[in-house]
């Protein structure tokens, strides 16, 4: 039997910059002056989201933190700092840092040290997530946007070795990182190490996650891309002669709002796509013309007139239809998640992005309470997705 875990992910957005400022700005990330960020408002937002995390701990909803920089979409900025606070203020739930930007940070050993510390102080409740990152983050972090996939894997390898080496200093002389004397204290609480996740729909990366048995999460991939990614993961394991993955190896992040009624959920849920309509506005040099953003062969498709990757219809019903949002009354949302699970060939960990855009603290807490009371219980002890179905899907 399979039970689906539910996780809460909030990026702590800052939707308080005047619209005329955002309209005039070439990018709302990386280059928007921080005079538009009022510290008193930021402090209130931190308080509110930490309160939501405290509620999630009581309700049994696990917690995700991440980081983005210099923009209205995300006030976390330093995931290990925030994760350490969450670790100290919660008692029960798991905490996933998804993640600090290892393609931007110069020293993976320092990252491993931060995560080991959090794992100990949370008594083993930490999961570690990795993201390749890119775009505005390369600008705000002054990190070379080229070869970040290779850099990401070397950082992961060094972090893993750092977390699992216990017999005194070792030396690392890699392509991107060198560290002559690695020997961290404390060592992690979990043995051999905390669970590793990675957020990606990049198929070669999904295959490598499969071979390593890491959790593969997708962000808003929708039905087709998500199934393609999961199938790639499964196929890579099969080709390497490894055991078939459980559903807990697969995770999916979607917008989510649970109301008392479908009508309420659709009304409040429509505040969430601010994430897509406002908070990802970016300048061309930080997006389609940034080196490494797309393979050169894809440039004509990205550069020619009218090229756009974004979904055009951002209404809640359209996002639900594309599998990018779960919204409705509790039973509706249970049906949507089960349908998603069936269509992608199994998923064990759903990450809900709820406190996003213009959704208020009170609205977010109401949704979390309904999720815990009426959605989560209906996602326990589910019939397994038949292996035959998975195998058939793998060839699609």
């Amino acid at each position: 039997m399979t039970s689906i875990e539910l996780w809460n992910h909030c990026e702590n957005p800052y939707p308080f910059v005047p619209a005329e400022v955002l309209d005039a700005a070439p990018a709302v990330r990386a280059s928007l002056p921080n005079r538009y960020c009022e510290p008193e408002i930021a402090a209130r937002l931190y308080d509110e989201v930490f309160e939501e995390y405290r509620l999630c701990d009581e309700l049994g909803l696990h917690i995700v933190t991440n980081e983005h920089h210099s923009g209205i979409n995300n006030l976390w900025a330093a995931s290990p700092v925030i994760t350490g606070i969450v670790a100290r203020m919660t008692r029960k739930v798991r905490i996933l840092s998804l993640g600090t930007l290892i393609t931007v940070r110069p020293d993976p050993v320092r990252v491993a040290t931060e995560y080991a510390t959090i794992d100990v102080l949370s008594r083993g409740r930490l999961d570690i997530g990795f993201v390749k990152s890119g775009a505005t983050e390369m600008v705000s972090g002054d990190a070379n946007p080229m070869r970040i996939r290779e850099r990401e894997w070397e950082a992961i390898d060094l972090i893993e070795k750092t977390l699992t080496s216990h017999d005194g200093p070792f030396s690392w002389e890699g392509k991107f990182f060198t560290h002559a004397h690695v020997n961290i204290w404390p060592r992690p609480y979990q043995q051999p190490r905390p669970e590793f996740w990675a957020a990606t729909s990049d198929l070669p990366t999904c295959a490598e996650l499969g071979r390593r048995g890491m959790v593969n999460t997708l962000l808003f991939g929708g039905y087709t891309r998500t199934k393609q990614a999961y199938d790639t993961y499964k196929r890579a394991r099969a080709e390497a002669g490894l055991s078939p993955p459980g559903e807990d190896r697969f995770s999916y992040m979607a917008f989510c709002y649970v109301g008392d009624t479908d009508e309420e959920a659709l009304r409040v849920g429509q505040k969430i796509p601010w994430f897509l309509t406002v908070s990802i506005k970016s300048a061309p040099q930080m997006s389609k013309f940034q080196p490494g953003q797309i393979p050169p062969e894809m440039a004509p498709a990205a550069w020619r007139g009218g090229a756009s990757k974004r979904p055009t219809d951002l209404s809640v019903p359209a996002l639900i239809a594309q599998g990018q949002m779960f919204a409705g009354n509790p039973d509706t949302v249970v049906r949507q998640i089960k349908e998603f699970r069936r269509r992608v060939g199994g998923v064990g960990r759903i990450i809900m992005m709820t406190r996003q855009g213009l959704v208020t603290h009170a609205e977010a807490e109401k949704s979390f309470s309904r999720v815990a009371r009426e959605v989560l219980p209906q996602l326990q002890d589910l019939e397994p997705i038949e292996q035959a179905q998975v195998a058939a899907g793998a060839g699609a």
Partner: protein, 265 residues
Amino acid sequence: MTTMRAGAFEIEVLRRGEGRPILLIHGVNPVSPRAPFVAMLAQHGEVIAPSHPGFGASPRPADFDTMYDLVNLYRDVLDAIAVPAVSVVGFGFGGWIAAELAVAAGQEINRLVLVDPVGIKISGREVRDIVHFFNTEPAELNRRAWHDPGRRPDGVYGLGWQATISDAMTDAEMVTLARNWDSLCVYGWKPHMFNPRLGDWLRRIAVPTLVLWGESDRIVTPQYGRAYAQRISGATFQAIAAAGHHPELEQPETFVEQVVAFIAA
């Protein structure tokens, strides 16, 4: 376009004309056979213009990723040309390579021409000497790079090329521009387009040097160019009017006149 062997590498090269070799080291994009200055210069010697690894049709080996690699590759190119007196002309980013090459292997060069080169740090830590190639809005880059963007030869691309993309371009052109841009970033993102130590070592350049500068260059200004020239013993600084970062493209006649007069002297 043909290929040449340089040490362990097989790279794309444009060759035009005959006589004394004139090695062109390109900037953001390889030297285009469509650029009028190429044929003009080829009347005075053999123009040899390789494409750096990762540019044009030249492959870039996975670990070939630093200015150190490029300088040593161009030492291999000089060996492959196998003439004791090569004139070297470097443009923009390629001017940086040429300056590094002249510091490291000056004895194999008989004349050095630097055309709006980047590569050194002049001002204080809070003043940017070189407009950021990768983090500047394309239209702004285009404005700063040209005296008159309308004078750009058809099908030839300099800095700010992103602002000139049109559906009339072929897919192959776009793929090549994207690949060149990626490769430039591998070599030049950080520190952005300079070697913090090169400025002090320019004093090792003993070969006669001409520093040519587009008077309207607002990517790297003529003031930066004069400071560059001052660090090279005996170098001459010459501004070219009505030209920006690519005087060889905006004022090909004046450019070729200046270069030929200098390398023939």
